[in-house]
């Protein structure tokens, strides 16, 4: 009912009343409170439930995390100050999941990132969940369903990767796939930062893909999976045709293989032949903006 502080104040009030008025009668708690209410000009006893909020006119230090004011805490740096630009940390998963987690599902370790990337860069990456399927594992107990996700991530400046993840829930599968994609980032060569250097023919399982380099302003006119991958990589002008199987997972894997392995840079070709290479487009006609 009443807090210990209130009790103390009531006892003090009653003691004060008895001594000041020289009355031998002792007051009970309720009468003391009633008397305090009835006394003219009397102030309500202020009770501070939370330390630091009892003095009127003093503002709480809003740069520190407060257990009452900041119910969902934001990230802090070493000094304990808030970083208001960081996203909120939401309530954690139930404890059982921590036991079942394996390393691949954890968020990416910054030290393992390639090309000098940081976790802040990863947050600005484009993330596309291109394939989300419902798979089922047939066992003696029956069909066990599971959700599969294939996510492509990229920064639109030549760095991209893909990852696959499986879980009972779609959101968790997508998150696993995203983390794996962040782990498998590769750098892609682009001519003029907009297209591939030359036409590429690649076969992956039953999927044959022909990529064609195209002039500026052409656009990405290709299969919708290849289109998404090209926008994640930062390829702006390309034409592609998928022959044979158009299975989405294989089209995506074929595209990544072809664009990372099969491109030959003119500088490397010239070095092998012992020739000097000049980009006529840049030298005589000006570079493509």
């Amino acid at each position: 009912m009443a807090s210990p502080a209130l009790w103390q104040r009531c006892i003090a009030a009653s003691a004060l009343a008895s001594t000041s008025r020289n009355v031998t009668r002792t007051f009970t708690t309720t009468t003391a409170v009633a008397m305090a209410r009835q006394r003219p000009g009397a102030q309500k006893p202020t009770v501070a439930r939370v330390p630091g909020l009892d003095q009127p006119g003093t503002l709480h230090n809003l740069s520190e995390i407060h257990p009452l004011l900041d119910h969902y805490p934001r990230k802090t740096d070493q000094d304990g100050h808030l970083n208001l630009e960081s996203p909120k940390l939401w309530a954690s998963d139930p404890p059982l999941d921590d036991l079942l987690k394996n390393q691949a599902d954890d968020d990416v370790d910054e030290a393992s990132l390639p090309h000098g990337l940081t976790k802040d860069d990863l947050r600005k990456f484009l993330k596309r969940a291109l394939v989300v399927k419902r798979t089922s594992n047939m066992t003696t107990a029956g069909k066990i369903p599971s959700m599969y996700a294939l996510v492509v991530v990229g920064n639109g400046q030549g760095i991209a990767g893909y990852g696959e993840g499986k879980d009972d829930e779609v959101a968790r599968a997508v998150r696993k796939a995203t983390n794996r994609a962040m782990r498998n980032l590769t750098s892609f060569d682009r001519y003029d930062d907009r297209t591939i250097y030359h036409d590429i023919d690649h076969k992956f399982h039953a999927t044959n893909i022909q990529f064609r380099s195209r002039p500026p302003g052409f656009g990405n006119r290709c299969n919708h999976y290849i289109h998404e991958i090209c926008s994640c990589i930062g390829i702006l002008d390309i034409s592609a045709k998928v022959w044979g199987s158009r299975n989405p997972m294989n089209v995506i894997k074929a595209t990544f293989e072809a664009l990372s392995l099969k491109q030959k840079l003119p500088e490397d070709i010239a070095r092998g032949r012992g020739k000097r290479v000049v980009d006529v487009q840049h030298t005589y006609y000006g570079a493509n903006e």
Partner: protein
């Protein structure tokens, strides 16, 4: 007499097998195409020799040794990769390809011409013209068309 596609096959297979040098039949056409490959930087040298090894000193070709005469081409590799990936015949006995200057300009620009795909960055085409066996861009400089023998990349 071995045709130009015989040379294409030998050169391509030699590079694929990572050989140091290959011996091809010693003919005027083979010598001319090998010269173009040498000038373009695909092979390191062209030597005459016999079927065992290249000649160290000059050996004249006579009816006695003509059967053993070979052209030795020294192959080039860079970064653990062959410098020549593919060499294929364009004009074949089943379908001869003779192109004019305009069609050759199309090829050089990367566009298709006479059902032949355009040249990719780093690709060359060897053709025989009235001025001899030339690479495509050299033929365009001279303003000459001709039979497109092979292409190499």
């Amino acid at each position: 007499m071995p045709r130009h596609y015989d040379l294409c096959a030998r050169v391509q297979n030699g590079f694929a097998a990572r050989l140091r040098r290959i011996a091809v039949p010693d003919t005027k056409m083979n010598l001319a195409i090998s010269n173009v490959l040498y000038k373009e930087g695909f092979i390191a040298s062209v030597n005459r020799g016999d079927h065992v090894q290249p000649d160290t000193t000059y050996v004249p070709t006579t009816p006695d040794n003509i059967a053993t005469r070979r052209l030795w081409l020294e192959l080039k590799y860079n970064n653990d990769e062959p410098v020549l990936k593919k060499m294929s015949a364009v004009s074949k006995p089943s379908k001869k390809i003779v192109m004019k200057v305009e069609e050759l300009q199309n090829l050089a620009a990367g566009n298709r011409s006479q059902f032949i795909k355009g040249l990719q960055p780093g690709e060359i085409a060897i053709l025989t013209t009235n001025y001899g066996v030339l690479e495509l861009r050299d033929a365009l400089e001279k303003g000459a068309g001709g039979e497109v023998l092979c292409r190499a990349i």
